[in-house]
Assembly symmetry: C2
Homo-oligomer: 426 residues x 2
C-alpha cells in the first residue's frame, strides 16, 4: 500500500523529544520513518521488555494487516482518514469527548458540520444559490423525497434508466406523480447510455432523472443531457461517483448521494439542491423528507448522523489536500485504465460487457470466459488479501469497485493477479 | 471517573510478556493497573527516552482528559465502549478493514448486526413475535411511519402529550389519519403524567401513543396505560430512556427509539414491533418508511448505518456485562436520587418543576431561584469539566442528562459543585 504508518497511542501529556505532536490534544503519534521503539513494562514483580521495529514504510504494522477492499459500498476509506478518526475517537481535539458524544447543537459539532459543508462547496465549486443538506436514509429515501418535494400528483417527470438504481428511483416515483421511462437499457442488460439527441422527453416534465453511475452495472454518464422543458431540471443520483471527478453543479437542479462509496461511512446522504426548488413539498410529505425543514435548520432539524458527517468532513479535507477533484479524477482515470486494459487485452479470458465509452471509473464489472472458474478467482484473490470481488447477486460475475480510496497499488496488484490467474488457467 | 484505562496501541504481532492480548487482532492494550512504561525511540542520529507513569487508576491518561458530559443527546458513551471502538477502528478483528468499510452484506457485518439484535433481545427479553429493526432518520421519521403503516386516513388514534416530543409526534400524525390528544400537560408546562383511570380514550383508536420519557421536560412514565380498544395497541417513543431499565415489551405494539441517548451514536433508530402489525402500509408510504420492507430484509433493504449499529452492539454487550437492565436501573436510580435530593434539599435554591412521582431517571431539569445566576452556574461547571448543563432552548434553566453512561462519579461531582455554588451564592 502506498502510504503507510505505524501508530502509537501516547498519553496526551507525553512528549517524545524527536517526535513533535501536532497539537496537545493529539493522542496518537504516527511513525512514517523507519524507527525502533523499545517498550518496557515494569510491574512490582518484574520488568519485561519488547522492541518494535518499523524497519521501513512497507513493513509498517498497520498496513501489513490491511486488505485491498473492492466492495461496492460501504467501501474502502483513505487510510490517513481512518487513522485520524482513530486518533481522535476517544477525545476529539482536547474537547474531552468523542465526536459521537457531542451535542449536535454544541460549538464543537457545529464547527465540524460547517467545515464539512465549506470544504464540499470548495471541492465541487457549488454555486451560492444551492443548498447543501446532510440527511439520513440513503439515496432510496430521496427516491420518494424528490417527487414529494418537486411535483403535484399529475405532474410528468422523466427517467432515463441505465441500471437497477435508476429503475428503483422510477418505481418509487410512481407512488407520487406521473413518471415515464423515456429510455431504458434493460433489454441490453444495462450496458449503455443513450444518445441524448434521440431522447423523447415529455414536454412538461418537471424533471429528468438520471443515475450518473450505476454501481451494479458499471455504466457511467460522461456528459449530461439537457432538459427539454425550459422549466424542468436535471436530477442526478451520484451516490457511486460523488466527488470522484469535477462536476458542473449548475447543470443540475438536484444532486444527491449516499456517502458510503467515495466520501464516508453509510448513514449520511448528501443533497445539493437549487434553492428555488425548495419549499413546495406536498402535504403528505413526512417532515423528515421535506427539504425546506432541513434547509431552514441547516440539517439540524433533528439529530443528524454526527459521526458520519464528521467522517465525510475528514474525507473532504483529504480530497482537498490531494489537490481537489481534478487531481482525484486523474488518479481514478489511471486506475480504471489499468484495469480495463487488463480485461481488454486478455484475449477474451476476462470480459467487461459495458460499452467502452460509458464504462464507469468506479465500478468495473467483469466475467470470465470460463465462468466455472469465477468462484476460484474470487477465492484465490481473497487469499491474496483482495476482497469483495464478487459481482452483485443480480448480475453475477465479478466486480471491482475502485473508488477514490482504492490506491493504485490495489489495482496494480489485482491486475498482476488477473494475469497470473489467466496464465495458470488459459 | 470510576473505570479508567491507559491505552497503548501495539502492533498486532507484538506480545508484551506480562500482558496477554485477548486475541491476535487486538491492536491496543489497556493498562488497568499501575504501571510504568519506558519508551525509547531510536533513529539514526540519536536515542530519546521518555517514561509514562500510570501511578494509579485515578491518574490514568485517558480519563484525566475526559469531561463529564451531561448532554441530552448525542450523549456520553461508556468509556470502555469508546476504547474498544478506537482499538478496532482501523482493523476490526483482523479483518483488514474498518467496520466503516465493510460491505453490509459481508459475513463480518452480518455477524455484527445479528449479535446486536440477539443481545438487545436478551436485554429487553423481547418476545419472538416481535421484530427488531435497525433504521435511519431518528424518532422523527417514525412519527410519520407509524400512522402510515398502521392507519387508514379516517382511522382514529390517541396521543397522550406529556412534552414537546409527544406533541411533535401528534402533529405529524395529523397528515395521515385522525389523531386526538386525549390528555396534554401543556397548560401545566409539561410537569405531569395523567392518571390512567380518567383517560377518555377513543373507542376505535388504532393505537395510543405516549412518549415514555420526555427529554426536554424530564417527565417519565413509571407505569403504562392499557389501551381501551381491544384491537388497539400501545406505542411508545422510548428514545431517551431506552435500555435504562427493564420494560415489559409485550405491553406494547411498537417501541421505537433514537440510539443517541443510551445505546449508541446518532443515526440509528431502533424499532421493536409486533409482527402482526407489519404489512399494512398505505400506498403513499415511502419505501424506506415501510416496516414490511425492512422486516423482510432484516434491516438490509438498503445500506444501513453500519458503524452506528456496530456501536449499539458494543453498548448492548456492555449492558449485559453489567448484569442486564435490572442492574443498570439500580445504578440509574442511585444517580437520579442523589441529584433530585440535592435539588430538594437546597431549600429552594435549586428547583425541579416536575411532579416527584414522574421525575425522569434520565433528564433532570432544574432552575435557580436566583435565575440571574444560571449563566454563571453553567460557566463555572464547565470550568470544572462538567459540560452541556444548559437547559433546552425552549424551557431555559439547566438540565443534567444522566443516561446509562454517566458514571456515579459524574453525578457526585455535580452535586458537590451545586452545594459549593449554593454556599457561595445563597
Amino acid at each position: 500500500m502506498a502510504a503507510t504508518t505505524n501508530s502509537f497511542l501516547i498519553g496526551n501529556q507525553t512528549k517524545i523529544p524527536s517526535l513533535k505532536p501536532k497539537s496537545i490534544s493529539q493522542s496518537f503519534i504516527h511513525f512514517t520513518k523507519p524507527n525502533t521503539i523499545n517498550l518496557t513494562t515494569t510491574t512490582r514483580r518484574r520488568t519485561n521488555s519488547v522492541s518494535i521495529r518499523c524497519a521501513s514504510a512497507s513493513t509498517a504494522v498497520g498496513s501489513e494487516q490491511r486488505v485491498f477492499n473492492f466492495a461496492a459500498g460501504p467501501a474502502a476509506l483513505p487510510e490517513n482518514v481512518l487513522l485520524k478518526a482513530q486518533s481522535d475517537l476517544y477525545n476529539w481535539r482536547g474537547s474531552g469527548m468523542s465526536v459521537m458524544e457531542m451535542s449536535h447543537r454544541g460549538k464543537e459539532f457545529l464547527s465540524i458540520i460547517q467545515k464539512a459543508e465549506t470544504d464540499l462547496r470548495q471541492l465541487l465549486e457549488i454555486p451560492s444559490e444551492y443548498s447543501v443538506l446532510f440527511l439520513q436514509g440513503g439515496a432510496t429515501t430521496q427516491f420518494a423525497a424528490l417527487p414529494l418535494n418537486l411535483c403535484k400528483p399529475d405532474d410528468s417527470v422523466d427517467y432515463i434508466v441505465t441500471g437497477s438504481w435508476g429503475d428503483k428511483a422510477f418505481k418509487e416515483a410512481q407512488k407520487y406523480c406521473n413518471p415515464k421511462v423515456i429510455w431504458s437499457g434493460k433489454s441490453e442488460k444495462y450496458t449503455k447510455v443513450p444518445s441524448f439527441d434521440g431522447l423523447e422527453q415529455s414536454t412538461h416534465a418537471k424533471y429528468l432523472h438520471i443515475c450518473a453511475n450505476e454501481t451494479i452495472h458499471g455504466v457511467e454518464f460522461k456528459d449530461y443531457p439537457v432538459v427539454g422543458n425550459p422549466d424542468g431540471v436535471l436530477i442526478a443520483d451520484m451516490s457511486s461517483n460523488f466527488c470522484s471527478k469535477p462536476v458542473d453543479v449548475s447543470k443540475f437542479g438536484v444532486i444527491y448521494a449516499g456517502a458510503q462509496k467515495n466520501v464516508g461511512p453509510s448513514g449520511v446522504t448528501i443533497v445539493i439542491i437549487r434553492k428555488d426548488l425548495i419549499g413546495n413539498a406536498r402535504d403528505i410529505t413526512p417532515v423528515m423528507l421535506d427539504y425546506k425543514i432541513h434547509d431552514e435548520n441547516s440539517s439540524l432539524y433533528n439529530t443528524p448522523p454526527c459521526f458520519g458527517i464528521y467522517m465525510c468532513g475528514l474525507v473532504f479535507d483529504d480530497l482537498l489536500e490531494q489537490g481537489g477533484l481534478k487531481e482525484v479524477e486523474k488518479k481514478n482515470q489511471r486506475k480504471a485504465e489499468l484495469l480495463y486494459n487488463a480485461i481488454d487485452e486478455s484475449r477474451g479470458f476476462f470480459r467487461c460487457p459495458v460499452e467502452k465509452s460509458v464504462r464507469s471509473l468506479m465500478n468495473v464489472p467483469f466475467t470470465l470466459e470460463k465462468s466455472e472458474l469465477e468462484a476460484e478467482f474470487i477465492k484465490e484473490a481473497a487469499k491474496e488479501k483482495m476482497v469483495q470481488l464478487k459481482g452483485h447477486r443480480s448480475v453475477g460475475g465479478m466486480r471491482a469497485s475502485i473508488y477514490n480510496a482504492m490506491p493504485l497499488a490495489g489495482v496494480e496488484k489485482l491486475v498482476a493477479f488477473m494475469k497470473d490467474f489467466q496464465a495458470r488457467h488459459a
